[in-house]
Amino acid sequence: MHNGKNNRLLLILTIATLAIAGFYILYQLNFDILFYQLPSRVNRVVTMLIVGIAIAVSTVIFQTITKNRILTPSIMGLDSVYLFIQTIIVFIVGTSSPLLTNDFVNYLVSMLGLVVFTVLVFKYLFRLTGNHVFLLLLIGIILGTFFNSLSTFMQMLINPDDFLILQNSMFASFNAINDSLIWITGAIVLLMLIIVLRDFHSLDVIALGRDHAINLGINYDRKVSQLLLIIAVLVSVSTALVGPIMFLGLLVVNLAHEMFKTFKHRYLLLGSTLIAVITLLLGQMLTQYVFNQAVEISVIINLVGGVYFIILMLKESRR
């Protein structure tokens, strides 16, 4: 009954995404620098698509497993760990080290660090807390604060010039991203997406909860471990590529829930991905044309997402 409406919604979102992407690529195109401007804009759009998929898909799955709507991998401290990795590199080996200057090396180190952290946290935390949402949230915030404080401490000690360079990696940015990294990340994200989509029906079953899922024949513990690993990889590669956008996942997945009013992952996965890409495109246009690059895109998205997060918390606590 609701499928017809939801299919139409998906179609509208797809058209909107294409239209906004087209507009972004063609707006005020300067024919004198066409060969520079066009590929650079297309690259940005492709990056936004990759990041949109990675963040939306990982957040949808994470919330399905934890059965909550306010926790996301980023809120669980992942973004702080990314910052911590960047800071510790500057702190120990300095800004001239290839660990920081070489996009490729930095990407690899950040990604590995994040994957290791996520797998450890997820594996042990879920077991320790018995998947209790508010306990998880609390620990996530504590972990986040812990790594943030460590980073801040080290940032005090490094010299101001290094700090300026470090500051670049504190905010997500879609400007000047290394081409080959885009394609590597794209390939990894695509691979994860295929694995998820091949078996998206079992996500619907997992949403019913552990007992129902086992009763219906899902090998629950193995499946959930596999999914957590996929989440870790998705969030890590996307953060390593553009930097942290803490509240993006929360914002787009909740909007998808509001719009589609369904448990079906076909709609949730596709819907929240499209919403994520639209959000990133709009954010980027605001940054570029309204704020003239004075405000980072992650600041805009976090402002909107953060306010939404507070509203969700208030709604949740009133229930």
Partner: protein, 269 residues
Amino acid sequence: MIDLKGISKIYGQKKVVNDVSVSIAKGKVTSFIGPNGAGKSTLLSMITRLLDQDSGEVLLEGKNILQAPSDALAKKIAILKQSNHMDLKITVRELISFGRFPYSKGRLNERDHEIIDEAISYMELEEFEDRYIDELSGGQRQRVYIAMTIAQDTEYIFLDEPLNNLDMKHSVQIMQILRRLVRERNKTIIIVIHDINFASCYSDNIVAMKDGKVAISGKKDDVIKKEILEDIYEMDINIECIYGQQICVYFDEHEDASVDDFIEDQVRA
């Protein structure tokens, strides 16, 4: 046939299920009865692989249940737990359709839809089919979950307190449906049930549990006996034969004076 061999579960220091060995006959209705906290639900969860036991094994037709692949098992046994809470935006029909997941893996065919329709009509849910489950009453929702379990169409069906929240008419209806499933389709049904008279009227066998142990198990007539039940529930119980059924009468004949005192105390306080 399901054989339990020395099943135990320990929480902290307490053995909440203590060395339970019992056989569940095929093609019968077996009821588990016993006081709150006796370990019935815990035992059912272990039989159906939802919970790991600390010792012992469950044999399904002679084979250890943990060795069978989970998806094959889902076509053989179905379990509905005592309480089911769901925060999802899901309609009645969609939820019942999940009963077919072990067969269809999410892609329903004609036959699946027939079985879903049948389960819906068994539970008289036609008028709610397209409603979201959070828009139903407690009893209506319970019937949806039972329908989902029936749609799973397994040989063995485990229901933990299926009559929760149900009115008399629907309780009787469901027990009759369960009997029919046994009679016509040779299903094996295992229920946990508190209403001792429903257990007495509709089961073939009864397993009575107390303090984590099996107090007694056997044909229903061997279990529904005054001394046995009084011992298990620690209260006075009389058994009368009404229309050929053993009916337990467990109301006080005299009013309990201490209850009046208690109420008076409360009023005064």
